[in-house]
Amino acid sequence: MEKNQQNIILEVSNLSIGYTDKKQQKIVKNQLTFKAHQSEFICLLGKNGVGKSTLLKTISKVIPKLDGKIYIDNNEINHINSKTFSKILGVILTERLPESNLTVFEMIALGRQPHTNWIDSLSNEDLNMVNKSLEQTNTTHLKDKNVFELSDGQLQKVLISRVLAQDTPIIIFDEPTAHLDIHHKIETFLLLKKLSKEAQKTIIISTHEIHWAIELADTIWLMTENNCYFDSPENLKMQNRFQELFDSLLVTFDAESNQFKISS
């Protein structure tokens, strides 16, 4: 086997994404063709409303694709049943969890549902997976706490543990850094990067932290009003694609600092 980078896990061709509304199709983006590999850390960039969530939802089968093909492990996703799919692709959502009495351990154990039997009892393997995923995010000490007692930063890590326990090769994470302070933002980025390599996961996140994405991502999916680019941060920088995120001439992308500057 060659380097892990060569193992294609997700292959998308001529994909159209959007919504079907009263038998009328509203296409957000079309003709998307790209690939993702094992152990790849991917950051999806683009401004609000450009279709980032639509793309992630389409890949995770929450909304149907309008046209084109999505292959995961060489299987078209429409031909994968929801049970099997839940063992292939795990998600972390931005929505708040409903209130409950769940402890951290119990919540992470819920990630094992695709693997447990019909009354949800945990086998030794399930218990090992839960404990392992607690260790992977350094949250073992939180295990007996109630979920609602956690801080935002702790909750974030526990949610990551939950999806790790689900044991899926692909993890999709919508705006992981949305309501975190800068300290936890960096920590989350580094943790996700580390997990993609150590646990060999394909991790796809949408984010607005452009400079960290450029620094840490293996690949960037860049969505602008008119185009979509799927390439390494270096290539995108060379082609000056990041400038396309802003249509104003007042804001320019500074390749040195990976930041946007306001020119006066």
Partner: protein
């Protein structure tokens, strides 16, 4: 989730309590019967006083069985509603099922009094059938609506609307009713656990089992719903099917209880909370059996209180459940200072 072993002791205590409460329930009533004779009757030995035997076997035991069915079915329906709607105020009647049953009864009373129908129509069975038709019509409407709606919260609102609609019709009918008709209707709405023949109880039991058994297969999806519908979906749960099953089971159980025993308030709302406070878990593998037992216990206690010993009057069961249940729930909440669903 949690190993069942942790809860073994709690379950042993709970089941013991259930049998104690059941024994007390059968032992007390408007006619005082010595404990020794009750034991003899239960052991199928003949005793000197035939009336006592009839009171126990034909009256108190059927009533206790009805209390167990009603309490457990309402309590577990409340749990299902609270988990599905992620709302601590949800109860089995939130989808308007009791209003539907009440409407059925109101129409029955009206039809009988309009003449042309003999008063034989006001038998036990016609009450059960009228309430069942009313409850299941509302259930059918809600389930049909639910299949066309994606948002679970909208179903809740639609259920409430159906309930209000049915109540409004009842109000109008009540406005034009005679005093005796009103009295009949109000007597029904007090709730009544007694007066069921063994034949009726078998039918009660049959439908009860049809409603309870499928719960086994809902444990896993109910647990996943604790994370919200979207996470549940990402864990491979078919939300639409699960929602449909929950609605049908709740309607069946609640409609059944309402048809046989009238609209009994409070149990469905309070018992899931009581159980969660006692067991401190959200795992439905533990909660469902615990809620079933707790519901039965609360109902048996309420019925024992309603059936004040040595007094001829029986208090309305519907009032007792709230009168004595509410302070218990308040006390538990204040003591634990939290309430989750």
């Amino acid at each position: 989730m949690n190993p069942v072993n942790t809860y073994r002791l709690s379950f042993i205590l709970l089941i013991s309590l259930f049998f104690i409460v059941l024994a007390i329930n059968i032992s007390f009533g408007s006619v005082a019967i010595p404990l020794k004779d009750i034991v003899n009757i239960l052991l199928n030995k003949s005793i000197s006083n035939e009336n006592w035997q009839i009171i126990i076997t034909e009256f108190r035991i059927p009533k206790a069985i009805t209390a167990i069915f009603a309490g457990s079915a309402l309590a577990v329906s409340g749990l299902l509603m609270q988990t599905l709607f992620r709302n601590p105020l949800a109860d089995p009647y939130i989808l308007g099922i009791s209003s539907g049953a009440s409407l059925g009864i109101a129409i029955l009373i009206l039809l009988v009094s309009l003449g042309g129908f003999s008063t034989i129509l006001l038998s036990n069975w016609s009450f059960i059938i009228a309430a069942a038709i009313g409850a299941f019509s509302i259930m059918l409407l809600v389930v049909i609506m639910a299949s066309k709606i994606k948002n679970t919260m909208s179903i809740l609102i639609i259920g409430l609307m159906f309930g209000s609609f049915a109540s409004a019709i009842i109000s109008i009918m009540a406005y034009f009713s005679s005093a005796s008709q009103l009295q009949q209707f109000i007597a029904w709405s007090f709730g009544n656990l007694g007066n069921h023949t063994s034949q009726e109880l078998w039918i009660y039991f049959g439908f009860y089992i049809i409603g309870i058994v499928p719960l086994l297969f809902l444990i896993k999806p109910l647990n996943s719903l604790l994370l919200g519908e979207n996470y549940a979906q990402s864990l491979g749960v078919n939300i639409k099917n699960v929602r449909f099953s929950i609605l049908v089971i709740t309607s069946l159980l609640t409609g059944l209880v309402t048809a046989f025993s009238g609209p009994i308030a409070f149990v469905g709302l309070a018992v899931p909370h009581l159980t969660k406070l006692i067991f401190n878990t959200s795992n439905h593998l533990i909660l469902i059996p615990a809620v079933l037992i707790n519901g039965a216990i609360l109902m048996l206690i309420s019925d024992t209180i309603a059936q004040l010993p040595n007094i001829e009057y029986t208090l309305p069961i519907n009032a007792i459940t709230s009168l004595f249940g509410a302070p218990i729930v308040i006390w538990l909440i204040v003591r634990k200072r939290k309430l989750n669903y």
